[in-house]
Symmetry: C2
DNA sequence: CATGGTTGGATACGTTGTACACACGAGTGA
DNA sequence: TCACTCGTGTGTACAACGTATCCAACCATG
């Protein structure tokens, strides 16, 4: 029986000895640990302790730690909601912002092995893809282009949020609270590098940029540019 | 003395006892291991064995495994070359394709902790950023917009390549060689999910799409859309 | 030659994921 | 009612990992 089959069969009361452990409970508790203590705190022993069972108990329900991570991803992706059918652009924008909000709420999403984060097919992720693809289809866009748009947007969102979270986590690790402080801290970290004089344009950015500390602005600008480009390509279909 | 300072001082022949180990050699050997055996093979013990020294020897030159990963990233990013100054779009396109080529050659880049992969400032990464930012500056683009463009393009590239590599690795793990074979394999893996009937549009894609197995096409289409959108926003500067 | 700092070696510890054998307890067929 | 079986949780154990710590060998300098 597959992992997702087990997930779909919550209590199964008429079946054999009823377990105190279920995949749902494992997923919920694991997400709780990661939310408060980071992905590094996800340990089969820690998980078992928080579940109130022996270290090996969870292995009756998952094949290993990888399964736990997969369950966690699926569990939180259920939180992303798309608005009822509107135009494709509104849907894709909602998808992008929804996933970004999800990642900001569960920062560990950007820390897990990239393979799993980006590609793994879990029910909740597929449901999200289904909603987005259906919206694109509703706009009369063919299958190849639909998937291309979906992939491109999610690729941008993953890259952008990883970047944003990377900085945010670095700041948290170092105890920096605002942009100015972190620039000072970063500067001291990069003093030697910058003093090599090899990066004049980079230094210029550090001096001149005004939107340095506004990740929302940065995310939106990039996303809008991307959606603009997609829109023109849809209205004027390209060759090949 | 910082890690990068040590990196810049290769032999330092007039200094104290000369080491058989250098950060360069550590980086080179580590990259070799990861290239042939994957990131999972990077172990301080394995690294030491391939270096021909005792397990703890490397710790005289790096603070820990994290430093090794950082060195590896920096080492391979030196491979990315940008063409001599042309227009900004050509430069950004070269940057995107160069990084993609790099990732395809060193797939482990997508597997390391995302924080490190996306944000870490190493000399080679900063040199690349410097080149790209200088090209944008040369086109008369202001500091905020330059950095925004750079971040957006690299975000897309990282997301897209992670996605592409994720699929490629899954295929390699399962021994699938072409698209058709992997679709069969994937199908059997998702049979239960698809049989729930919850993903009709997704199924339609699997049946209809023609460019499913052309990652280069997918990458280019998304990148061109993104660059199109950026171009229109540069020529018609937006408010705020 | 003596000295001090730098390099590599050896040993050891705590933590991790997980294999394995066992114990319990409820459902089923006699 | 009584084995019997199967699904569940427990206890113990092991190999592999990152790395702290102490020690020996070396070289440039006085």
């Amino acid at each position: 029986m597959s992992l997702w089959e087990r997930l779909d069969r919550p209590g199964d009361p008429a079946h054999q000895a009823r377990p105190a452990l279920t995949v749902q409970r494992i997923a919920t508790v694991a997400v709780g640990i990661a939310d408060t203590n980071g992905l590094g705190a996800i340990t089969m022993r820690r998980l078992a302790k928080d579940l109130g069972v022996a270290p090996m108990a969870a292995y009756r329900h998952v094949e290993g730690k990888d399964d736990v991570l997969e369950l966690m991803v699926d569990h939180v992706y259920g939180e992303v909601k798309l608005p009822a059918a509107t135009d494709w652009r509104t849907t894709m924008r909602a998808l992008a912002c929804g996933v970004r909000a999800l990642v900001l709420e569960h920062p560990w999403l950007t820390q897990l092995p990239a393979t799993r984060a980006v590609f793994e097919l879990t029910p909740a992720r597929m449901a999200l893809a289904e909603r987005a693809l259906a919206a694109l289809r509703g706009a009369g866009i063919d299958a190849d282009t639909s998937m291309s748009i979906f992939r491109t947007v999610t690729a941008y969102v993953h890259g952008a949020t990883s970047n944003e979270l990377g900085l945010r986590q670095l700041m948290a690790d170092q105890g920096w609270t605002d942009g100015a402080e972190s620039r000072t801290g970063l500067a001291s970290r990069m003093t030697w590098l910058l003093n090599t004089g090899r990066y004049p344009t980079f230094e210029r950015y550090i001096r001149e940029a005004a939107h340095k500390d506004d990740p929302q602005w940065q995310f939106d600008v990039g996303l809008d540019a991307l959606l603009d480009g997609i829109a023109t390509r849809i209205s004027r279909p390209r060759r090949s």
